[in-house]
């Protein structure tokens, strides 16, 4: 039981829900950028939610199957074709042995998630199949998938063809997007006016946006509170003594272009961070295309926790609807 990659698209990688536990050594959690979409795709085909699937950026891959299978495509919207016949997204699709899965042009969002019944069964590295190319871990020999790769599949679950997620339950960011954040970390380095400016400005996703971090442009340069730089930090006002980075933390090297660290984050460094995106909004970032306008909205911890709860409830509703 396997699937064969005929064409990998632009950048397609094997991802699951990641490898927690090694961030203290600089090895990030990794896994699907849009965990919501990955979980739902797995639910649709009857897999455990942490089974490995494919994450494809901007363009779908072309895949053929060695046996009958059940698949689901979630996340970004783009036409899904089986032997050239259009299929529904967010829906379990029965695939016959020898059929070819392909995709049309991207309509909205940035990353699609493809789950296959049984899950992709490549070897685990440090407890996960997620691809971390920088550290050459997981995936196919530590890399993204390539044409000709044959990916083994696990034992099929109990999914049913035709199972579908109600449109109200499909989650993609708005455009312009709002990313909620909790102020903190080194927020105090900013002048009050500059902090307000940061939140009022409209930013745009820069082309340098990937699994490690999303970069933004277009807002005004930040202004720092004057100080003598602490020993060991370096002389630029945006420098700090290298510390740990939080997932979702917003660093602004030189005070110019914010970078939000994502699943393949570097674990630490010497640029100040002004807060972090709330856990409930992290999935959205993986669905932002370059040039998408974005605003950062500061929220309280209680709001962040409420948003996290809402996201859990949404997943619970989907689980119940598919049970």
């Amino acid at each position: 039981m396997a699937l064969k990659i005929l064409n990998p698209g632009l950048s397609t990688s094997i991802q699951d829900l990641g490898r927690p536990g090694y961030f203290h050594l600089g090895i990030p959690i990794g896994g699907a950028m849009d965990r919501f979409a990955m979980r739902v795709a797995n639910m649709l085909v009857g897999n455990n939610e942490d089974a490995a699937g494919l994450e494809a950026v901007f363009m779908g891959p072309e895949i053929t199957f060695t046996e009958d299978a059940l698949i689901a495509v979630t996340g970004a919207e783009l036409p899904v074709m089986l032997d050239g016949v259009e299929q529904n997204t967010w829906t379990a699709i029965a695939v016959k042995k020898g059929q070819t899965l392909s995709f049309g042009f991207l309509q909205s969002g940035a990353r699609i998630y493809i789950a296959v019944s049984g899950g992709i069964d490549t070897p685990e590295a440090l407890g996960s199949r997620s691809t971390y190319p920088i550290g050459a871990l997981g995936g196919v020999d530590g890399r993204n998938v390539a044409a000709g790769d044959v990916l083994p599949l696990g034992k099929s679950g109990h999914g049913k063809a035709g199972a579908t997620v109600a449109p109200a339950h499909r989650r993609l960011p708005a455009n312009p997007a709002v990313l909620r954040m909790v102020k903190g970390l080194y927020w105090h380095r900013l002048t009050e006016a500059s902090g307000e400016q940061f939140l009022n400005d409209e930013w745009k996703v820069a082309p340098e946006a990937d699994r490690m971090g999303y970069r933004f442009r277009g807002g005004k340069p930040l202004e720092f509170v004057d100080r003598e730089q602490p020993f060991g930090a370096g002389s630029d006002p945006s420098n700090i003594v290298d510390g740990c980075y939080s997932y979702g933390s917003i660093q602004v090297p030189g005070g110019t272009e914010p970078i939000v660290l994502h699943r393949d984050a570097v674990s630490g460094g010497g640029y100040f961070t002004l807060g972090a995106i709330i856990s409930a909004d992290m999935d959205y970032i993986g669905q932002l295309q370059p040039h998408t306008p974005v605003k950062f909205e500061a929220v309280s911890m209680e709001d962040a926790l409420a948003a996290r709860k809402e996201r859990h409830q949404l997943l619970d509703e989907i689980r119940a609807s598919l049970a």
């Binding site: 600089g26 002389s235 003594v241």
Partner: protein, 291 residues
């Protein structure tokens, strides 16, 4: 030294022992992160020690951020009383300074640098008041270094030089981080040296390259068979300058599986070091040279 507690979103607590770097701040941070680990608090998922700070990642579905913050704060007193002593290793790392690969890369990203007209080493030597690049390089490798953090990318060590503060070298990071750094580049930012374990983005000034792998996900390198990451916080490093011929020879030995890093077991006592840096370093070097 004043401890600062802050949240990183709804899943992290960040604890800064001190704004500035010192071995005292490092030891306090390490002790406190150990105390948090030993406390086995429900909901804590990861603890990452850094140079003068550490971070606790948690699941807010299990423990409310404010409750965890109180529990972590309560452990500060424990950390203050902890011994500033550890059993560790000293490891010799060969460095080919001014190598062609980092030179090619630093030229490629010149517009992101403070001084586009020179090299990273020329800039670092000048702003640290050295007459020549060679003198600066000598200052970089003459005394041992302490691994005060492992991270950034897989297995990358941050190193702090075991010398008086007025002898510490300091440089800023690149104005805008590079998107590329050669694998095994020996870098510098703030008061820290580092070794880029893998190829990738980076903001540190680039001084040279080591032929000695420090991260091997395949676990084929002889000394990385047990675990893919070489360094842990508290390791001590001595750079040894090498030329191109020796660089090539060591690369070959690594490939043949015949290279063994020179290292020795040592004890490091912060109070003893603070009392007598020269003597402590001499004893560390004695242990290394006896290895």
């Amino acid at each position: 030294m004043k401890t600062r507690y802050t949240f990183g979103g709804d899943e992290h607590i960040y604890i800064e022992m001190d704004e500035e770097m010192s071995l005292d701040a490092f030891f306090k941070s390490l002790s406190m992160s150990n105390a948090v680990r030993e406390a086995n608090i429900d909901g804590v998922t990861e603890i990452c020690p850094a140079n003068a700070s550490f971070q606790v990642k948690f699941n807010p579905d299990v423990i409310h951020p404010d409750d965890l913050l109180e529990k972590v704060k309560a452990l500060e007193a424990v950390a203050e009383k902890a011994e500033k002593r550890m059993n560790t290793r000293i490891i010799e790392i060969p460095v080919y300074y001014q190598d062609p690969w980092t030179h090619e890369t630093l030229m490629r990203f010149r517009e992101r640098h403070q001084d586009p007209s020179g090299t990273d080493l020329e800039y670092a030597a000048r702003i640290n008041g050295f007459d020549s690049v060679d003198d600066f390089i000598t200052a970089h490798h003459s005394q041992p270094w302490f691994v005060s953090m492992v991270g950034f990318v897989a297995g990358l060590p941050f190193l702090y030089q075991l010398v008086e503060r007025d002898k510490q070298l300091e440089v800023p990071k690149y104005l805008r981080p590079r998107t590329d750094t050669p694998k095994l580049t020996v870098g510098y930012g703030g008061c820290f040296s580092c070794i880029y374990s893998v190829r990738g983005a980076g903001g540190y000034q680039m001084f040279g390259i080591t032929p000695m792998p420090i991260y091997d996900p395949e676990q084929e390198v002889t000394y990385l068979k047990d675990f893919m990451v070489l360094f842990r916080p508290g390791d001590i490093v001595k750079w040894r300058p090498i030329d191109r011929a020796e660089y090539d020879a060591i690369c070959q030995q690594v490939e043949d599986g015949t290279f063994t890093p020179k290292m020795a077991e040592v004890e490091f006592d912060l109070d003893a070091f603070n009392k007598d840096m020269t003597g402590t370093n001499a004893r560390l070097m004695e242990a290394l040279n006896g290895a």
